[in-house]
Every structure is written in structure tokens, then in C-alpha cells.
């Protein structure tokens, strides 16, 4: 039987060979990974039937923390999940398990980053704090290298780094247990581009208030409801770009008012400068035309395909980066 697909990929060196034991499903903690990604019902059903007939043929990998009687899964969540279900159905089943040493602290953090890749993308603060530890431990600051080490995408690493630039008092505002009292982590990420705009357009005010003073005002506006969505910060940057063609003075006045007046809402302040609707229409048109041309070309079965494949991959990379940039936004309401 082939090992099931979609098991967590384990980097070499993390799993030395260890003791082999046969464990009951109840002796193993269930996985803390996001169940929605790992436990798609159909493939799981197939695996479960296979295990029902043949048992678990490929050992799972587990470790045991000191003092605890149960084992933690390092690899083999799906096999374990199937065995739990089979046991609930009345079948007696044991799982072969390779018991290894618990991962080192850094390895544990890297594993946590891979879990982050599965979980919801707005739980950034704990990831940022752990990334800070990894950067200190490994002496690595470069985004690309950190991305390779941690499995986080480069934009995610960049977002974490942005969070770490804020003083502790602002980070703490995203660390309150009560979601009603918490400022979402992506508020700081989206606000990050605002400060250079103020520094450029209102240098005297920027010097007088300082970055923290301006940040305090943004926090006041957030709680006053004048920042209805964190994505609206992008509107300010866009308005700044659009206003360079002859409306810089007008923009600076709106910006000054925006900084000083708590109740002056973002869209009300900057919508007049933005031509978003035209850009959206243009982009949609370009996408439609691109698809139309490709479909018309009927290139599925061409022979000389190398250059075509190369160009299509370039297009795909561009689109992937653009989609990541377009991500972000407000955290959904917690239930």
C-alpha cells in the first residue's frame, strides 16, 4: 500500500529513527492542525476503508513530552484520525508508531509556521513573535532566506516584520483576549504605508507628532469607527499617487484634516482622489480578453511548447504575487 498523500512533509534531521511501538488511538493526542485542510472527507473515507481491511501499514511518527502519558503526532494525522473513527465504530485497532525525540525549539517553531500556513491568515501576531525568535536564533534577517527556512511566503514574512516594527504598546493592542477590544493584526500592516505618506506631504506635522503620535490618532479613529475597514488605508496611498498630477495641495489639506479630526472617515476624505472604479473595469477587461485569446488559440496540443510554457509560468507568478497583495482586510467576527 502506498503511503497516503498529503501527509506533512518532514524535513530531514527532524525525525531520527526511534522506538517502534503499537499504540491505541486513544493514547495519541489528535492533531492540532486545521481540520478543514487535512481531513477532506472523500480521500479520508478511502484511507479508512484501506485501514479497515489491511490495518495501518506505515508507522506514524510521534513524540512524547515529559510528564505526559499521551503522544503527540509529528506525522500521520490522517491515519490516526481514521483509526479513531474505526475505534468509535467498534473495531479494535492499534497503530504502529515511530517514537522519536520531541523537536527542538527552533524545529518546533518551524513546524508551527507550517501549521500557520494552513490556518486562517490573520492570526499573525504569534507568528511574528516566533519569527523574531527564529531571526535571533539563526541570525537571519533576509526575507527570502526566512521564507525558505520557515515555509512562510515572502509576503507573510514581510507582514510579520512590519508587525515587529511597532512598539510593544501597539502590539499589545492586538493581543487582548476579548475580540471586541482587540485591534486586528492586519490593522498595523495596512497602516504601515500611511506614515511615509504623512512624512512626505506633511513633514512639519510628522516631525511634531512623531510616528507614534500619528499612530495614536489612527487608533483613536479606529475606535471611533472612522476607519470602517483596514483595507481603506490602501485608498490613502492610492489617493496620494493619483493626486501628484496637480492636486497635491488639495490632498495635503485632506490629509491634515484626516490626521487631526477623529471623526473624519477615510473614504469621505480620499474617495475624490481615487479612480478605483476605472482601474477595476480595466483589469476585468484585460482578464476577459486574455482568456478569450488563449481559448481561441487552442494551444493545448502544440508541439513547440517550451516558450509558451515559460511565458505562461511568468504570467502565473505575476498573478500569484498580485493575489497575495490583494489579500488582507478585516478579520472576520469571531463566534
Amino acid at each position: 500500500m502506498n503511503p497516503p498523500k498529503n501527509t506533512t512533509e518532514i524535513k530531514p534531521g527532524l525525525i531520527p529513527t526511534g522506538l517502534l511501538k503499537r499504540l491505541r488511538p486513544s493514547e495519541v493526542f489528535p492533531s492540532v492542525n486545521n481540520p478543514r485542510r487535512l481531513f477532506d472527507p472523500e480521500p479520508l473515507k478511502v484511507l479508512k476503508e484501506n485501514i479497515r481491511q489491511h490495518g495501518v501499514l506505515v508507522p506514524i511518527t510521534v513524540f512524547q513530552l515529559k510528564g505526559q502519558s499521551k503522544y503527540h503526532i509529528l506525522d500521520g494525522e490522517r491515519r490516526h484520525r481514521c483509526c479513531v473513527q474505526l475505534e468509535e465504530e467498534g473495531q479494535t485497532i492499534t497503530i504502529p508508531a515511530n517514537v522519536v525525540e520531541p523537536p527542538s525549539r527552533v524545529a518546533g517553531m518551524l513546524y508551527m509556521f507550517s501549521i500557520h500556513n494552513i490556518r486562517e491568515p490573520w492570526e499573525l501576531m504569534p507568528v511574528a513573535l516566533s519569527l523574531k525568535s527564529v531571526m535571533a536564533d539563526l541570525g537571519e534577517q533576509e526575507t527570502q532566506k526566512l521564507s525558505e527556512l520557515t515555509g512562510l511566503s515572502e509576503p507573510q514574512v514581510e507582514r510579520c516584520k512590519i508587525l515587529l516594527t511597532y512598539p510593544a504598546k501597539y502590539q499589545d493592542m492586538s493581543l487582548t483576549p476579548d475580540p471586541e477590544e482587540r485591534i486586528p493584526a492586519n490593522f498595523w500592516i495596512e497602516a504601515h504605508a500611511f506614515f511615509p505618506v504623512v512624512e512626505t506631504c506633511l513633514p512639519k506635522i510628522y516631525r511634531a507628532l512623531g510616528r507614534d503620535g500619528i499612530c495614536d490618532r489612527l487608533v483613536d479613529k479606529y475606535w471611533a469607527g472612522s476607519i470602517k475597514s483596514v483595507i481603506h488605508f490602501r485608498r490613502i496611498t492610492e489617493a496620494f499617487e493619483e493626486s501628484r498630477d496637480g492636486r497635491a495641495g488639495e490632498f495635503a489639506k485632506a490629509l491634515e484634516r484626516y490626521v487631526y479630526e477623529v471623526d473624519f472617515e477615510t473614504r469621505a476624505a480620499f474617495d475624490t482622489f481615487v479612480m478605483e472604479a476605472r482601474k477595476i473595469a480595466g483589469t476585468l477587461g484585460a482578464c476577459d480578453e486574455f482568456l478569450r485569446q488563449l481559448k481561441r488559440g487552442k494551444i493545448d496540443h502544440i508541439v513547440e511548447k517550451d516558450e509558451v510554457v515559460k511565458r505562461l509560468n511568468e504570467v502565473r507568478r505575476f498573478i500569484d504575487k498580485l493575489l497575495i497583495k490583494l489579500e488582507g482586510g478585516d478579520a472576520p467576527k469571531e463566534s
Partner: protein, 295 residues
């Protein structure tokens, strides 16, 4: 009748030290006389099934379970300096109070343990990062469905870095919470593991017949003013009551209606009492309840 008179003697003694409202003979008498004679004996039998944890009993239990746990951890190679006790709710909550109770009763201050509030996540992150491995013990007096614990644990667990075995130490943990703890990779350590079979109104025990159970459930519904089943949160009908407060998954037959109108309870929760009653309870004066029933 004799049983009822006798009840006004043994029930107050049984629940001595109950804080939200002192269990007095008067209160017991008023409680019983709200119900027809045919129901009173059933209620008294149900009352005998309650496991009450006084402050002393809870402290003793926690110290005992804690000592067992610490011994196990020390044997596994985790010294006291690497053990972190955590309160997982606000100051003044049951978790905070219980941790203080354990700390005092077990003389833990001098034993080099560490202490943490689950909300201080950055400190938590820093502490676990520097220790790298150890054990974390969350503390509470009573865990019912585990919902509250899961919410708090989900919040602070991403900040726990390194290899820390995690435990929940409590006076009582209900069976329903075990799955929740398992999903959070936390092991329970409790004085009382309160299974469904220990709860007469769950229907799984054998102390009451089916019809008696239905009668008792009917009483609970009536007392709860027909808003829900009257069996408490998640219909758990838990039978463990602590000196500090009755858990919210306890049947309304003991708690009385919210606001104690139209039914008073012998063991109301703090939130079941109206503010004047809460103030009186805080002064430890027996609560004399006015007749509020409309004619």
C-alpha cells in the same frame, strides 16, 4: 413531613460555607414548600446525590492532585523551575481564586514554580522561549463543557513555544470536557472526574426510575420558567457544587429561578440572585425572601 423537618437540619450542615446565599433552615423550608408533597421526597433524594466541595475540601483535593502531578513531572525530569501555573480567566474569576487557594494551601510560593496569567501572551511567549521545555498547569475549580477553557487556551496556545506538556488541574472536570482537552493536547488532573453516569438526570444511572427522572426534569423546567430544559448549560445536569458558586450546568431545581422569582433555590448562583440579595449574601446575613408571588 418528618423527612422535611429533618432536611432543614442536615441540608444546611451539608452545604455549610456556601457563599452566594447561606443555606439556612428557613431557606430549605421555603424551598421545599414551593413544591407539592409528592415532589418533595424526590427533591430530597436528588439533593443527597449532590457532591459538595467546601473550601477546605477543594483545597485538600487540589493540593493532593497537584502533589501527584508534580511528583510525576519531577520523575520525568521536569524540575519545579520549569513548571508554569496559569490562571486562564480574569482576576477574581474562579481560575484566579483557585490558583491562589492552591498556592496558599500547598505552600507553593517557596517551591520555585512560575506563575502566569494567560492574557499576558507576550510574557508567556518570552517565558516559554527561554525555558524551551517544561510543563504548564492551568488551574480551575470546576470545568463543565470545557468551552471556556477552550476559548482561553486557543488564545494563548500559539504563544507557547517549545516542548511543554500541558495539564488542567481542577477540583472537578466533567466528562464532556475530556474531548475538548484532548483536542487541545491538554491532560486532565482532577479530584473528581464527573461522568454522565454520576448524574441522575442524565438517565444513565440507576438511582431513579424513568418516571421519577421525568418528574424531576419537569420540576427543573418549571423552576426555570419553561425557558429551556432547566437542566443547566448544555443540559448537563451536573451534580457537583462548589462553595464559591454553583456551576451554570446545575439543574434549576437547586438554583431556583433567575431572580429567585417565582421559585427560590437552596443553592442559587450569584447571577441567579437579584442585586439586593447579592448584597445581603455578601454581608453573610441570612436572606429573608419576600413573598413575591402575585395572587
Amino acid at each position: 413531613m418528618i423527612e422535611e423537618i429533618y432536611a432543614t437540619w442536615w441540608i444546611p450542615r451539608r452545604f455549610a460555607g456556601y457563599r452566594p446565599a447561606r443555606v439556612s433552615a428557613t431557606r430549605v423550608w421555603k424551598w421545599l414548600n414551593q413544591f407539592p408533597a409528592s415532589e418533595r421526597m424526590l427533591l430530597l433524594r436528588l439533593t443527597r446525590c449532590v457532591q459538595y466541595l467546601s473550601e477546605k475540601a477543594l483545597a485538600t483535593m487540589l493540593v493532593r492532585e497537584n502533589e501527584k502531578l508534580i511528583k510525576r513531572l519531577n520523575f520525568a525530569g521536569i524540575p519545579n523551575e520549569r513548571i508554569i501555573y496559569v490562571q486562564y480567566d480574569d482576576a477574581g474569576s474562579s481560575s484566579a481564586v483557585t490558583l491562589n487557594l492552591l498556592r496558599d494551601a500547598g505552600l507553593l510560593e517557596r517551591k520555585k514554580f512560575r506563575w502566569m496569567d494567560y492574557k499576558r501572551v507576550k510574557d508567556f511567549h518570552e517565558m516559554t522561549t527561554s525555558l524551551e521545555e517544561g510543563a504548564i498547569i492551568f488551574v480551575d475549580d470546576f470545568v463543565g463543557s470545557g468551552t471556556q477553557f477552550r476559548k482561553c487556551h486557543k488564545f494563548c496556545s500559539p504563544f507557547i513555544v517549545g516542548n511543554f506538556s500541558q495539564f488542567l488541574l481542577a477540583g472537578c472536570i466533567c466528562e464532556e470536557a475530556f474531548k475538548v482537552l484532548d483536542a487541545q493536547n491538554v491532560e486532565p488532573a482532577a479530584g473528581i472526574m464527573h461522568g454522565r453516569k454520576d448524574r441522575p438526570l442524565s438517565g444513565l444511572g440507576s438511582l431513579f426510575s424513568k418516571s421519577e427522572i421525568e418528574t424531576l426534569k419537569g420540576i427543573c423546567r418549571r423552576v426555570a420558567n419553561n425557558s429551556g430544559s432547566g437542566l443547566g448549560f448544555d443540559d448537563m445536569a451536573s451534580m457537583v457544587i462548589l462553595y464559591r458558586n454553583t456551576p451554570n450546568n446545575t439543574p434549576f431545581a437547586f438554583r431556583g429561578t433567575i431572580g429567585q422569582d417565582p421559585f427560590v433555590g437552596i443553592l442559587p448562583r450569584t447571577t441567579d440572585l437579584i442585586s439586593e440579595q447579592q448584597a445581603e449574601a455578601a454581608r453573610n446575613v441570612p436572606v429573608e425572601l419576600q413573598e413575591k408571588r402575585s395572587s
